[in-house]
Symmetry: C2
Subunit: 120 residues, 2 copies
């Protein structure tokens, strides 16, 4: 039940919340909710690819219910995360009129060839 609420929260909020954010929101209406449940569930959902676990903020893991391919912009001042549609991404220096980008990171996750072989 808690899991469903957490998943629903992710799908209806595009704010890229942290585990703590979600706990604070949901525990208002469900006072028995445990922080551990939120952490466990988010980990589970991310591992099963039902959501994304974003690591761009070095302080906290942020979660995203939108699993379609898109980028993110983190404002280093207010720490807000904004979605960047894939068609707006160029691999060269990004310069929008809205915001200034001073660095980018492109990360891939999976299993390397060595670990791949070990599995067989």
């Amino acid at each position: 039940m808690q899991r469903l609420l957490i998943m629903k929260y992710l799908l209806t909020h595009k704010t890229h919340p942290t585990a703590d954010d979600i706990y604070n929101e949901l525990s208002k209406r469900m006072p028995t909710l445990s922080k551990t449940t939120v952490y466990n569930t988010l980990k589970l959902l991310a591992e099963s690819k039902a959501c994304l676990a974003l690591t761009l903020d070095e302080k906290n893991i942020h979660y995203d219910g939108d699993t379609t391919l898109h980028g993110h912009f983190l404002c280093k001042e207010c720490m807000t995360i904004i979605d960047i549609p894939i068609n707006e991404i160029s691999l060269n220096r990004e310069e929008s009129s809205d915001y200034t980008v001073d660095s980018m990171e492109i990360s891939f996750y999976g299993r390397c060839s060595a670990c791949q072989k070990k599995r067989m």
Copy 2:
């Protein structure tokens, strides 16, 4: 002096070390080195863009002396980080014969329009 050694270490090792990695290596030859110095210095270097602070591993910040545009691949099993040349990156599902990619993250960092304005 310590700063120079740390910077030199980053430039001569393409292993994307963590602060701890660097401390462990350098303290062999410089037993008085402090962990705090390593953390402070890496933070400083990254802020001044002399190196990159990679956040793709949610457990540790990894540092990269190579500031040219390139991507990274993190093996979830052995936690090794491999460089991905920019010309090998396609924004569609990445499938190499060497390794399997099951997710990717494209992150931009800077200041949003609201925070931009506040500064003036």
